[in-house]
């Protein structure tokens, strides 16, 4: 029998106990809270996955009281919850919701927040863990952390305190370091949860399972068999109403520095000793450190940027980036980026890793394609057939999550003609469960204290170390950016990054 130290009752349970928690959302009236966080919290409540005792405190500048915030939260949940709200659960959840009004730089907010958190503890007769979720503009991250510390809200003797920081985590290496220093001057690393919501996606987590639970792949997963790797995050939409944010950010910062480099690390990392947070993250950091940051001269050889021009997307004519509302005239912000990187270690040396991300492309898809080297000798005549293509393993993160392996097969008939065919596994057809929203998983992990799916300080800085030289080189290059037609597969310039027989996968 299990010892009393281990809680013998949790064996076999799908939903493991979570310590009673007070979740504090800074920026509780903002878009992220409205569309993602509050619905995610509701869905956790609906599934019975929240801690048995739970409080939610919203902090924001908007003038309102508890009841008005509850009404706002109710609307958000009804509008965006993935499950139809059960009114009795929703009502019971909202009873546990409170609101603290004020500016994030106002010390009074933290005094009131501290008093409220203590009141909630006393009311329950137990010390709740506290999770501070910063769903605010990044400019407030340091201020909030500092003021939480100044008001003694950064740690407790008898319960855990954690802080969740949304992306973007810095604008460059220097600002990321500064933010890390600011957070680490108040909190310990184990308390800090840097969110990259891509890591909350089931298919991203499945990358690790696919690699490390299937013996078929590991023997091939190296420079001996892999010809090149391509990671794509394409969007068919434009910048929408996010011009203010996007024009200051660009595709490299918005997608590559975080999401795509995370996918790259999961794809290329060595098997961790265990799946504890630090073991996994240490292996990921090793991958990032094995990628040599480009020198200024190398940047044009390994990086391409572009902006979308006018074109046809989603069946209608759409303006080019520079004509989008809110974009600065003559803006040099890239809406497309393609990179060629190399992980210089024993396993991957010499294997090009191509990354591309962009807006207003032909379709929405996030995928990883691993192209194997061609067979050394081909005995078949290829005339009259589509020919032999190297095997390609494609892991689709979204949409139509799944894995497909391209194989070459004989075309039925008297002649030995061949063509590529696809062997598919689709999540949608193979499991009974609906995948939870990424934020549900990540919020639950912060409450459980599992940081595996969150970026560590050194991981974030290692990623910025790769991106910084590119940003710097681009900042010195004047003139308009290359353009690509909206609704197309991207700029022709991206092709010059490709080595050997590599080709961008068709979008």
């Amino acid at each position: 029998m299990a010892t009393i130290q281990e809680n013998p009752l949790v064996e076999g349970l799908e939903r493991l106990p979570v310590h009673p928690t007070t979740l504090v959302i800074f920026g509780a009236t903002g878009d992220l809270a409205h569309r993602k966080l509050l619905p995610a919290v509701y869905n956790l409540a609906h599934e019975g996955a929240l801690p048995e005792r739970f409080n939610l405190v919203g902090v924001a500048r908007r003038e309102m009281d508890d009841d008005a915030f509850r009404a706002t939260a109710r609307d958000s949940i009804r509008q965006y919850s993935r499950t139809r709200p059960d009114e009795s659960v929703l009502g019971a959840l909202l009873e546990r919701v409170r609101y603290v009004r004020g500016s994030f730089d106002d010390a009074g907010v933290y005094r009131r927040l501290g008093a409220l958190a203590s009141e909630l503890d006393e009311e329950a007769g137990i010390p709740f863990n506290r999770v501070f979720y910063l769903a605010t503009a990044p400019t407030f991250f340091e201020t909030i952390a500092e003021l939480l510390g100044a008001h003694g809200l950064d740690a407790r003797e008898d319960a855990e305190v954690r802080i969740v920081v949304e992306k973007p985590f810095g604008r460059d290496l220097a600002s990321a370091r500064q933010l890390n220093e600011a957070l680490l001057s108040v909190f310990e690393e184990r308390q800090i949860y840097r969110i990259d919501h891509y890591l909350g996606k089931e298919t991203v987590q499945n990358l690790l399972v696919m690699r490390f639970a299937n013996g078929i792949f590991e023997p091939l997963w190296n420079r001996g068999y892999v010809d090149y790797v391509e990671i794509t995050a394409a969007e068919d939409i434009g910048i929408g109403s996010r011009a203010g944010y996007y024009d200051r950010t660009g595709a490299l910062r918005d997608i590559v520095q975080n999401h795509l480099l995370q996918l790259l690390t999961l794809l290329c990392m060595e098997p961790p000793v265990s799946f504890s947070a630090d073991e996994v993250r240490s292996e990921k950091v090793k991958v990032l450190r094995a990628i040599r940051p480009p020198s200024p001269d190398e940047v044009p050889e390994i990086a391409v940027r572009a902006q979308y021009g006018p074109g046809v997307a989603e069946g209608r004519e759409v303006p080019g980036y520079l004509d989008e509302e809110g974009v600065a005239p003559g803006s040099g912000t890239e809406t497309y980026v393609a990179l060629r990187l190399e992980v210089e270690n024993w396993r991957w040396a010499g294997v090009p890793v191509y990354l591309r991300a962009g807006k207003r492309l032909a379709r929405k898809v996030t995928e990883i394609a691993v192209t194997l080297k061609p067979v050394p000798h081909l005995a078949f005549q290829q005339s009259g057939s589509l020919g032999v293509q190297p095997n390609q393993l494609v892991l689709t993160v979204q949409p139509n999550e799944g894995v497909s392996l391209s194989l070459v097969a004989k075309i039925p008939g008297a002649r030995m003609r061949v063509r590529p065919v696809s062997m598919d596994f689709l999540y949608g057809t193979s499991f009974l469960s609906q995948s939870p929203e990424a934020y549900e998983r990540l919020i639950l992990d912060t409450m459980r204290g599992d940081a595996t799916l969150f970026a560590r300080a050194d991981e974030v800085e290692a990623a910025w170390s790769l991106v910084d030289p590119i940003l710097e080189a681009w900042s010195r290059t004047a003139g308009p950016l290359p353009t690509y037609e909206a609704g197309s597969s991207g700029p022709a310039e991206a092709d010059r990054l490709l080595l050997g027989g590599a080709r961008w996968r068709q979008l």
């Binding site: 009393i4 009752l9 076999g12 019975g48 689709l426 193979s430």
Partner: protein, 360 residues
């Protein structure tokens, strides 16, 4: 032998039907339906999760099919419903392919085969069903109207047997049946699943290190249940006994139909009471109370929005709260049962073994 093939759209449902048919003809009909759908829609993909073979009484076929349709996303990919009609000498069969848009151009289809057959077919049922199940997928057998002989016949094909121990009016027979089937296949018991939220919450309550030592001091376990749901109460109590290393004795019935007994917990004894609650409308548990010698108590009861929890501490303080969670309802329980076919719960059999001792 007559066969007819029709395609109906929208909604995207295609059907095949044949009277006096054979398993191989039914299988060919299914393949033909799949081929038609593939030709019609490039993004069409049949679900490939598990086979569910349900053996039902013909008059209740519709009710069972409706129950299965209400499980929503937990629908198995291929369902084979064997509807038993006394005296029937031929096999008549329907095959239905229902396609659901899964978004982004993907259409996922589920297949259902309904076979009307006679009691005479039950003896060779495995030979009828075998060609109709998808190889390499988990096969679950469910026989909600008895037909234990049919379940026995299908056991060589079955990875999982789905049952509801509340279906049998005699709790001893129900527990004995679950024990017997557990020897042959993995059993998913809906009576057990009805206790899941209670088990989760009790585990959560004692999870904080400061409360965990109280598990060693438990002296009384009271389980309230709907009068026909004694087995859920037995399984919950059995779970607690098996997880805590208690040795349960047999429970004795009281005039009020409660079952009362005890379990040896180390050097002490813990009293176990199963109390029928006539007010309870849904099958399963109505409430649970755990008490320690030192005066700590925890009660959980059904309530709107989740479970109503109440804790009393030795110093006389009481606190109450709601543990949030939506009721799954009976369709949700059945859906959960189907989903469990893909999982393995190592705690059911030890709990069942303790339940068996309690009803001995």
């Amino acid at each position: 032998m007559e066969a007819a093939l029709t395609a109906v759209e929208p909604p995207s449902t295609a059907r095949w039907y044949a009277e006096d048919t054979t398993p191989s003809a039914i299988e060919a009909g299914l393949r033909e339906l799949l081929g038609q759908q593939h030709a019609r829609h490039a993004g069409y993909a049949p679900a490939r999760v598990l086979n569910l073979v349900a053996v039902v009484d013909r008059p209740w076929r519709g009710e069972v099919v409706n129950r299965l349709e209400r499980v929503g996303r937990y629908h198995p990919s291929r369902t084979v419903v064997c509807a038993v009609q006394p005296g029937k000498r031929t096999l008549d069969a329907w095959a239905t392919l229902t396609a659901t848009a899964a978004g982004d151009g993907l259409t996922v289809a589920q297949e259902r085969v309904e076979i009307e057959l006679g009691e005479r077919h039950l003896e060779g049922l495995a030979a009828i069903v075998d060609p109709l199940i998808l190889a390499d997928l988990t096969t679950m057998v469910w026989s909600p109207h008895g037909h234990d002989d049919a379940v026995d016949e299908l056991l060589p094909l079955a990875d999982v047997v789905l049952l509801d121990s509340l279906d049998l009016p005699d709790m001893r027979a129900a527990v004995a049946r679950a024990c017997r089937l557990s020897e042959e296949a993995y059993v998913v018991d809906l009576a057990w699943l009805r206790s899941t939220p209670w088990r989760e919450r009790v585990a959560a309550t004692f999870d904080p290190p400061r409360w965990r030592p109280a598990l060693r001091e438990l002296t009384r376990v009271t389980v309230r249940h709907r009068p026909d749901s004694t087995v859920s109460g037995l399984l919950f109590s059995g779970w607690l006994c098996s997880r805590l290393g208690w040795s349960p004795g047999s429970l004795a019935p009281r005039p009020d139909r409660a079952l009362v007994g005890s379990a040896r917990a180390g050097k002490t004894k813990a009293r176990i009471e199963l109390l029928p609650d006539p007010q309870m409308t849904a099958p399963g548990l109505a409430g649970v109370t755990l008490e320690t010698a030192s005066g700590l108590s925890l009660s959980l009861d059904r309530s709107p929005g989740g479970l109503s929890a109440r804790r009393g501490t030795p110093d006389g303080r009481e606190s109450a709260w709601i543990v949030l969670g939506a009721s799954r309802g009976e369709p949700g329980i059945l859906g959960e049962g189907i989903r469990q076919a893909l999982l393995r719960d190592p705690t059911y059999r030890p709990a069942l073994a303790c339940a068996e001792r309690m009803v001995a």
